[in-house]
Subunit: 533 residues, 2 copies
């Protein structure tokens, strides 16, 4: 016996129809790379997405075909997500900071047929065009005056909005994102309409993004990073006003935040460091900001503290491209206001809890599920409706036999079910049979005012297997010694975690998404001799 409620496919285009109908006048603001601004709203996004979908269909786009973007954050990029999906296609956001070999591999593997891009990435297009084998159409969002490239608005102007979204099964794909792995070829995650919709509904809840028609969001997280954390979908579901900036200049961000009365923002830790520097230099601050989501990598305690002292709630998120990306989110618990700032920080600096839908487990090396005791660390696995099962075009599933995805992270789960990442599995430093968390060492180190950034790696040691080397970038205008660093760390980490040596560099190697590139760092220091050997 089945029930008899109404049929309703969980298709992404319902989101845009809803936003246009119920929140049509809420603004979508775009600050462009050249300092100009444009303004649309959800009704305008819907109108333009229909025109774009009609245009893509005229170009011959078929259901399931991929439409790539190489672009920063702006309203035309948002239109493209919905336009490509509304035409039955799959939006494929490409990270412009990837290396050329990766750009070649990813776009040929995806078989992208159309590429939409920002003028600032024209040099990449010119260099890569001959290596991309499937792209038939190039469309520039902001063509310079007098250039002969196809412009986005000119393209739209050829079509009216008399177009019905392509319909179909809710498990058809709508989006493709590649992981920027540090080893091997990038892997594509093919999100479904259904997975995207359940994820969007989960995201707007108070314990995750806390999105409502009262929210004004400025997502600093790039639209090419991990499905933009789902914000283009969640904000349509909740009727959020969006403020986009194609540049990440903290002066611009602060100006936009104050003028547009931004209540919600989201970005990786380095974004907030830059904002702090701007605040210190100018005395400006975001006046209306209320909820700050930090993800991509772990947020240091000092960063969380400063943002909370600004009167904001800190959402400390963990997730990955393979998880759409929300895995966990830190959020206030019952009696939050009665906790001291320190108690709140103890909670916020961990990675938070799963929203309904996803489930975590931690396994030791023998695949035993570890207790949630806050001490037993191991490999973190996740499952749920918005977690990858199989990578795009892969021959085999990416999950264990019993259906769990191994995140590659090392974590503990605390008795209150709050998860804490302790390391990437491949970055953990194995010393005398115990694990030293490179992440915790780094976080402790950057608490020192004289340290701008720090990376910890394990170097071979005859007695202990591995011992930690800390590689430090001193803050501008400071001088620093190994002894000063070790002295600072001495009451912050266990004694046997203290690095065997400290090396000083002017900069660390990074991945395309801003994380420390540990493979390059290990390569750089592979001949370094620890003084303890």
């Amino acid at each position: 016996m089945l029930g008899a409620m109404q049929d309703f496919e969980l298709r992404v285009m319902h989101l845009l129809d809803h936003a246009a109908r119920e929140h049509g006048q809420r603004d979508i603001v775009s600050y462009w790379a050249d300092g100009s601004e444009t303004r649309s709203n959800w009704a305008g996004v819907e109108r333009d997405a229909r025109r774009m979908a009609k245009g893509l269909t005229a170009l011959g786009l078929k259901k399931g075909d991929r439409v790539a973007t190489l672009a920063m954050n702006h309203g035309r990029h948002l239109v493209s997500w919905y336009g490509a999906i509304g035409a039955g296609g799959v939006i494929h956001t490409v990270n412009p900071r990837l290396f050329e070999d990766q750009l070649e591999y990813i776009m040929n593997h995806a078989e992208d047929r159309v590429l939409l891009y920002d003028a600032m990435f024209q040099p990449i297009i010119d260099k890569m065009k001959s290596r991309w084998t499937t792209i038939e159409h190039y469309i520039c969002y902001d063509p310079p005056k007098g250039s002969d490239v196809q412009g986005f608005e000119d393209f739209l102007d050829q079509y009216d909005n008399d177009f019905a979204w392509v319909d179909g099964d809710e498990r058809e794909p709508c989006m493709l994102c590649y992981t920027s792995g540090t080893t091997g070829n990038p892997k594509g995650v093919l999100y479904e309409h259904r997975s995207t919709m359940i994820h969007a509904l989960a995201e707007i809840q108070p314990a995750v993004f806390d999105f409502s028609p009262a929210s004004v969001a400025l997502p600093v997280v790039p639209m090419f990073h991990a499905a933009a954390w789902g914000i283009p979908f969640a904000s349509a579901a909740a009727g959020v006003k969006l403020v986009y900036s194609a540049v990440n200049d903290p002066a611009v961000l602060t100006m936009l935040m104050n003028r547009e009365e931004v209540t919600h923002s989201a970005g990786v830790p380095t974004v907030w460091l830059a904002l702090f520097q701007h605040m210190d230099a100018t005395g400006e601050k975001p006046e209306h900001l209320n909820v700050v989501t930090i993800g991509g990598s772990a947020a240091p305690r000092a960063m969380c503290e400063r943002i909370m002292k600004m009167g904001c709630r800190v959402n400390h998120a963990w997730g990955m491209t393979e998880t759409s990306p929300i895995g966990t989110m830190g959020a206030p618990i019952q009696g939050w206001d009665a906790l001291s700032l320190d108690e709140q920080l103890d909670i916020v600096t961990k990675q938070g809890k799963v929203p309904f839908g996803v489930e975590l487990r931690v396994l030791d090396d023998d695949d035993n599920v570890q207790p949630r005791d806050g001490k037993s660390s191991g490999r973190l696995q996740i499952r749920g409706p918005w977690v990858v099962k199989r990578y795009f075009k892969a021959e085999e599933d990416a999950v264990t036999e019993d259906g769990w995805f191994d995140t590659g992270d090392v974590a503990v789960i605390h008795p209150d079910n709050v998860m804490q990442i302790t390391d990437r599995a491949k970055d953990v430093i194995k010393s005398g049979g115990e694990w030293i968390s490179s992440v915790e060492l780094e976080n402790a180190a950057v608490g020192m005012a004289e340290i701008a950034e720090a990376g910890a790696i394990g170097l071979p040691h005859p007695k202990w297997d591995e011992r930690p080397l800390l590689v430090v970038v001193p803050a501008a205008g400071t001088s620093l010694s190994k002894d000063q660093v070790l002295e600072y760390l001495s009451d912050k980490v266990a004694k046997w975690w203290l690095p065997d040596d400290v090396a000083f560099v002017s900069e660390l190697p990074h991945t395309a998404t801003g994380k420390i590139l540990k493979t390059a760092l290990r390569e750089q220091f592979k001949d370094h001799k620890l003084p303890t050997i």
Copy 2:
């Protein structure tokens, strides 16, 4: 081409698994009719639901079989929802205030096999037992000492919790609720796992119930009323602590709210009137209350104002059994805090906006879709994944050819997409070709301190077709004249809306859910002569 995210059926039991795993220690408090209290938590509800499901299976319950309850709000009732559904059954909550003929019809029509009930309803059981043809097992939640009826806890004690939830398609039914219509036989709405899950995810968002692990909810809305507004499901999804009271004594509710630090409550307007009286008499007030949801019938402006002055947000909800039940919800918009109280009240006293998922339209008598201009009223229709398509055992769909459910309400939609119910279609007073809203007349009248309750009906009029009669219950200890009432109303409604006569009574007839029973009122006054004829 399909995507390749993980499989995950939208089955209700995932909610309880989540709540038990991630929020297992959050309390479920029960205050019983005899003044005693019990305390469980989400882990306990999950354990007991498995024991119950095992027991029901031992009794021979098969997939899709109905399990009825005749009970107030308490933790054992909550266990029963999940226990019945976990066993593959359908939980059928029955309103104990229904008339005997309705109780007979509903339970025989539902073919309930098991009935769980509160001891206070034993007289109903004794009277109805011979008329119910399908019930095989009676289980009492709180059997009096020495009675020989099967007790709920004794029943559970026979079973351990080694039971796997019955699995299946997400469109299988999980719950059955009958509408307590004022005419004809009650009709059953058979909710699906899928519809219930999408509704639960929509409910926890900030613009609806605003549920999170920081919330403590005391739902005054009875668990037998319109799927308890979905709160037993939404609170599991969000990890809410629940406080239940089997009695609606405002002194008990206030005590529980303050002792358990209740942040969220929900109930029909009369609940809040009773609470106000208690506050006035004792000086007590709910100290932690933050979000108050009012639904079931329209909340008067004075009620909204008083609750907002208590520092609470007022969620003014509209919905019906056929819509799971959330249709619309009033919620703060951007810049809320900068609005004056009067401006906020102008918004809050309307019924709010649809959350993502459902869609509204208003049709005139010729089935033309009316503009969203705040003026053009007509029949309100709704569609979406948690709206009924066909009543239980019905031969035909309950929706229009193009898939909309006609709510029987008359409404306007404002330019900001906020919906306002103006009347029930069958209660609207048709005067000279124009419509007078009986609801607005009543709401205006109860704004007068000397009026406890008021009902407006149309009486036949030779010139105008119908003209309004206002039937008034004076407040205790007041005296009141027709002229005083008309004088009070004179600047509150249009002049041609002013009642042609005012009648005074000591009480009004009500439906089982506390609404004014207009059919009975019209019958009572069918021979009343308007002085204007």
